[in-house]
Amino acid sequence: MRIGGPVAIRNQVYGWLLLTPAAFLLVAFTHYPAVATLAQSFFTQGTALHPSKFIEFENYRFMFDDPVFWKVFRNNAIYSSITVPTSIAFAILMAIWVNEKLPLRGLVRMAYFTPTILPMIAVANIWLFFYTPEIGLLDQILGRFGFQSPNWLGNTDTVLGCVIVLAIWKDAGFFMIFYLAALQSLPVELEEAARLEGASRWYYFRRVTFPLLMPTTLFVMINSLINSFKLIDHLFILTKGGPDNASSLLLYYIYEVAFSFLDQAYASTLTVVLLALLALLAVGQFTILDKRIHYR
């Protein structure tokens, strides 16, 4: 077993050959696009009339002066900070509810999970008709009580809320599954021990269940946060980001810039910012929360 002998070299080559397909795919579809995006953000968009040229941070400067960017940034901040905790809260509540011994438990679980398996586009189409004034479901219900339904999607004050409600409805059922699995892995004796000590259900949830669910919560939180930045399918159907960008989110704006304005360079700039933001949030969550989480 001499190191560097012909056998060792052949093994090395063999190993690298085995790795090559995976490495190639990773580089071609992950690393190269990321680097290319970063590079492109320092150039102008090249067209036949105006060839691309290097402009350093001009795209970034433009971004800081772009009111639409700040608007969608703020929208996204509001969107994330509401959808993430609310869908988590609903997911936990529903999971605890369907973890009980209740009649038709399977059916209730199914019902909660249904939104998850529907495609986002289909969901958005359904909700579009919920929200539509005059003929929408919400309007019909409010109308029965003699209220004129607001123009939910046509109003800058309500449109973002509508999009948020839809996102929570879609996400909560999905996250419920994770919580349900986590709840079922908690030993029953813990609750019995607490019951003997006289702990109320709320006290037990606050002091035992919730802390023990924290690993799930971290996972769900990061997923939910990423979803809130990357899941924008419903905007295409529901609002197209309007009215007046009131419901537009970062990624939707990036899509518009890239494919409607055909400005790949500026889209790259925005993408770099989005990636940096997501990376920062993920690192923050892992480092700050991880210390306070008990892993079994």
């Binding site: 019995e192 003997l196 000590e197 702990a199 035992v208 802390p211 924290m214």
Partner: protein
């Protein structure tokens, strides 16, 4: 104040009876062991006393008060679970104080009790650790500490030592027994281990298939088993129960000819019990048999012997040198005989 009465207790699951008409009394300040093979209903009984399981019929009284339908928290009982049920994310101290915090006991009082209990169970140096950082024995102590810090008069334990190794189990047995005496707790303790029952209990309730076989002191159960089941359940190795064939000529070991006759007055098919340690081996006189195997245990040897088609076990001092297949004769004095009828009930 803390006497426990279990009256005609029944637990049914989908029509099958897990506990069937069970009654016993645990006098205040004493130690009762619920003993039996797994699935006999002993844990279910304990959980009904704790209030963790609904009672199908019958009553549970603690300190003279009917608590059959009372909330577990209202019964003032503490409990040690087989799995310990420690909160994995809380430190040892937090685990011990969990119940005191729930009941909003003042911080100063909590600290005082924590210090005292930690001293009692020897956990002073581990209060900041998480359960995962403790050994099995230490976790056991935390569970114990959590039970006694409540200072409830009644303590229930569900196979608390079954996850420990043999040596530690022996130590903890005496510790728990000492603690119970010192604190004057009324204890109900579930186990399938007869050693624990024999060494710890003031009173043993031996159960089988949800029914009580015998209630009594360890001494009663060992020396005067009321059924053949009890006889066979206790003792290491357990009592030999020999089937008899009786006719006009008297009784003999079933399957043997006249040389297997015994001096007892019994009916056909009755059972004769003899403890292994009461059997004498002699090459010349007694019932003829053949040695099958010998287990040498140091101080003594356990010899398996075939009497016709039945087998018995004898325990003899020293290292027995019998080879397999070697003929041997066994005998015992009539004073050590136990006699059970064909239903397994004690006759004499």
């Amino acid at each position: 104040m803390s006497r426990i009465e279990v009256v005609s207790l029944v637990k049914e699951w989908n029509g099958t009876r897990a506990v069937d008409n069970l009654s016993f009394v645990v006098p205040e300040g004493t130690f009762t062991v619920l003993l039996g093979p797994s699935g006999c209903g002993k844990s279910t009984t304990l959980r009904m006393i704790a209030g963790l399981e609904d009672v199908t019929a019958g009553r549970v009284l603690i300190g003279g008060k009917d608590v059959t339908r009372a909330d577990p928290a209202k019964r003032q009982v503490s409990m040690v679970f087989q799995s310990y049920a420690l909160f994995p994310h809380l430190s040892v101290a937090e685990n011990i104080l969990f119940g005191l915090k729930v009941r909003k006991i003042a911080a100063a009082e909590r600290d005082k009790r924590l210090k005292r209990v930690a001293g009692v169970v020897g956990l002073e140096d581990f209060l900041d650790r998480k359960p995962a950082q403790l050994s099995g024995g230490q976790r056991q102590r935390v569970a114990l500490a959590r039970a006694i810090v409540a200072e409830y008069p009644v303590c229930l334990m569900d196979e608390p030592l079954s996850n420990l190794d043999a040596k530690l189990r022996g130590e903890m047995r005496s510790e728990i027994r000492d603690l119970q005496r010192k604190l004057g707790m009324t204890m109900v303790y579930v186990t399938h281990d007869q050693t624990e029952a024999m060494s710890m209990a003031d009173q043993v309730v031996l159960m089988k298939d949800g029914v009580c076989e015998q209630i009594g002191t360890p001494d009663d159960l060992y020396n005067r088993p009321s059924t053949a089941f009890v006889a066979r359940f206790l003792g290491m190795p357990p009592m030999n129960v020999i089937r008899l064939a009786c006719g006009a000529q008297g009784c003999r070991v079933a399957g043997l000819e006249s040389d297997g006759s015994v001096t007892v007055e019994a009916g056909d098919g009755w059972l004769l019990g003899v403890r292994p340690e009461d059997i004498a081996l002699d090459p010349s006189c007694g019932i003829p048999g053949q040695a099958i195997a010998v287990d040498y245990l140091g101080a003594d040897s356990v010899v398996r012997i075939a009497l016709g088609e039945q087998q018995i076990i004898a325990r003899v001092a020293g290292h027995c040198q019998l080879g397999s297949g070697q003929p041997i004769r066994v005998s015992w004095t009539p004073a050590v005989q136990h006699l059970f009828d064909d239903q397994g009930r004690r006759v004499a």
